[in-house]
Symmetry: C2
Subunit: 478 residues, 2 copies
């Protein structure tokens, strides 16, 4: 082997060893979730400057160790900050191989294995959704998938827009709940409809879109001379993990001939579970679905499926027929390039395929059931303790709550709300600084609430109890 | 160590070993670039079905070997099919670590190291471009970056569009050359302007946009009551690798107050080279630049920088101010989420940072100079041989050509063109099937031409000569 060959071999071996140690160390609760440093301090510790001259390849091992040391441990069982977390060696292995085969998903010719894996995964996801003839493609994230769905809906209602742009009389209107993800609003902005074209429909106390309110909003929009074309339902809202009532919304979109999109970025994975898939009852009536395996299926970012009930929709919407790539051969149903918004597109299917091999449908079903049980347990634990208040009755793996320390419990009204708000954001800031837990908060009903999310199957009851203890303890000292 | 821990350790070690062997094997020309199989046959060889039950993690090693066997070897020195290729162990290492730390780029809190790396890379790229106060962010590919640039241009000219959508009187028009990448057209479609809003400006014989033709097109557009707002210049066109004359185009966009975008997806990397950076003279006058390190800088897909001359533009265009993510802290200039079109965004900076550490500016400069020399050498070799014809005078690393076998040289006009076209596509198909080379073709001036691209610094003169020999040989037998 050449000298470079020997160095590569040794460095990759060392990387594999560090990786195994790093993953194993996630079981060790004495290691903090994060050791947060402000940018200036982190820059003083790690020299991140780019250089005129290169360094020997083998030296990069020490950089690798530094990166692992100073990154947030999203695989830590006490990382509750985002809708992803945990660690799955099978999908990490898949991602490593994707880096090795380094190709682009536009043609079967350039990516035969990855294309067939993606096609098989999309087939199975469509089956789970109930799209019998469905099609689909991976996108760089849930925002992109939601944009693609909105574009497909426009293509159906305003087919002239692709070539001519919008006509003055189009006046498109789209509908989403007040708790839907902001990417749907952003889609309206990107697409030249404007944020004002998006109508936000109120939710019930659990954070689910109210069907009657949607009906009313559509009627008002029609009365105002707009053309409703798209309804975004959410299966697993960002903050509360709520599931909009898809069947009831589908009755309304059917009646008015509107495109029904289900943003199941978070929720899609419940389709594996016999116990919980009824949360998405009616999803087979949707026109499109976004589903992020990088959330509850545990694969590394990004992995987002855009699923369509009717085949041909993605090509009609997105195809540009670039001659230099697609040569009109017989296998073009395996040339995925014209289905996506990208040209070069990285391989996101491989990591998911590896993960699916390791876990099987049954593994994902068990994971969903387990996470739901943990969330239910957390909820029970929480309501049984003094001073903790649920702010939404949880429907899935997210539990939004507040803690009112004893000294504030006699307060009422605005002064109580303000004091609890201050306490929440300060406790959260302090907890983040100490790094034993990472827990996010969000504004719910006008003031901040903690958002606990159960996304890591290795989180235990002890971890959850320790979190509540920590909040209690920190709140006393604020 | 637990049993799973031991298995993970062993499997990752085996993966590292396979990876090192795989990379080293790219030097072996006796291994084909690809062993192409139609989907049905590949599915018969590899069982890609998803299963109800999972399999032991250690078994995935054999899947890994199969994936490597049946994937196209884009790192092979005879892979000439796309504008990426070769292999860079430093960036593969970076990608492996990105999979381990699995985080999202929206907040500094969740991605401290990766955020600072991205900020440093963007700073340096802007410096190379000449954007003194520039800002930027990574996107999932060149198409996304081009869309972001077009959106930013719209935000400047039609600031009402973000909220209100387009007004009937807007009539936006954008300009690109006939050889620009299709993603700019797609951006017009996505943004609700329509493909018809895009005006395609003719090119000279080398494939560069003709400034006078742009000027004329703008005047015609104005006369037709449209509002020109955006000009896309290309630095390194997809097919011919041509560089539009940026300075001359900037004179025109300055005069008319239009946004000048430079799609330097391919070409940006020439900025490292003192010898070749004059191809992009005037780029510092642009408003935005797309630059894909996954092309000539050799990092795995995808890595695409979106650079803006004026700070604040990305936030003004894209910000949605999601409260649950961004908590209005002091470090928000390091919260990159509002700059991008995504919410969750994978870490693309790490692999590039590692590569930059290994090579330094000087390594990238040498690579550019070497690839240009190879392309010049290939051109000379080609024109010196009977029957080979350049179809564009090459300006960078792409060489478009045809081969006219002896028996067709007496033909003229249409019959010659048709016969050569048939020969070209058949030879290319046969070459692909045999798998010793992978070379793309594209329609140039109405008929197919081979497109040779020098993207792998390990390609040798022997490889290039062997390619020409192969084309000659196969053409005789067609």
């Amino acid at each position: 082997m050449s000298q470079l060959g020997t160095e590569i071999d040794a460095t990759l071996q060392r990387a594999a060893q560090l990786a195994a140690e790093y993953l194993a160390s996630h079981q060790d609760r004495s290691i903090p979730v994060a050791r947060p440093l402000p940018p200036s301090e982190l820059l003083a510790v790690m020299n991140l400057s780019l250089r005129e001259q290169g360094r020997p390849f083998a030296e990069l091992t020490s950089d690798m160790e530094e990166v692992l040391t100073h990154s947030v441990r999203t695989g830590h069982p006490r990382f509750f900050n985002q809708l992803f977390g945990g660690w799955d060696p099978a999908s990490i292995l898949g991602e490593w191989i994707a880096a090795l085969i380094n190709t682009s998903m536009y043609t079967y010719e350039a990516a035969p294995v990855a294309t067939l894996m993606e096609v098989e995964i999309i087939r199975r996801m469509n089956e789970l959704v109930g799209f019998e003839k469905g099609e689909g493609v991976f996108a760089p994230g849930g925002s992109s998938s939601n944009l693609m769905a909105t574009l497909a809906a426009r293509q159906r209602k305003f087919p002239h827009a692709k070539k001519e742009g919008h006509r003055a009389e189009d006046k498109p209107a789209l509908f989403l709940s007040t708790e839907a993800h902001y990417s749907v609003l952003r889609a309206a902005s990107i697409m030249g409809l404007g944020l004002n074209a998006a109508v936000e429909v109120p939710c019930d106390a659990e954070g689910r879109m109210i069907p009657e309110a949607l009906e009313l909003a559509i009627e008002e929009s029609l009365a105002a001379g707009q053309t409703p074309f798209f309804v975004n339902a959410t299966a697993g809202t960002t903050v509360a993990g709520a599931f909009d009532p898809i069947s009831q919304l589908a009755d309304i979109t059917d009646k008015h001939g509107l495109w029904l999109h289900v943003d199941a970025s978070l929720g899609g994975t419940v389709l594996f579970s016999n116990r919980h898939r009824q949360l998405m009852a009616g999803v087979e009536r949707a026109d499109s679905v976004t589903w992020n395996p990088h959330k509850l299926m545990g694969v590394p970012l990004a992995c987002s499926a855009t699923l369509m009930r009717e085949p041909g929709v993605l090509r009609a919407t997105n195809a540009m027929d670039a001659d230099y790539l697609f040569h009109g051969k017989s296998d073009t149903c395996y040339d995925l390039g014209d289905l996506s918004l990208q040209c070069g597109r990285r391989v996101d299917a491989l990591k998911l395929w590896f993960s699916w091999q390791a876990h099987g449908d049954s593994g994902f079903a068990q994971r969903v059931d387990h996470l739901f049980e943990m969330a239910a347990h957390f909820r029970e634990n929480l309501v049984a303790r003094d001073g903790f208040e649920l702010v939404r009755e949880p429907q899935s793996i997210s539990v939004c709550f507040r803690y009112i320390p004893e000294r504030l419990r006699s307060l009422t009204g605005e002064s109580r709300r303000d004091a609890v708000s201050t306490c929440t954001t300060r406790v959260r800031a302090q907890m983040t600084e100490q790094g034993r837990f990472l827990l996010n908060y969000a504004t719910v009903d006008g003031s901040p609430a903690y958002r606990m999310v159960l996304v890591n199957a290795r989180t235990t009851e002890e971890d959850m109890t320790a979190l509540l203890d920590e909040i209690e303890r920190l709140s006393e000292d604020i």
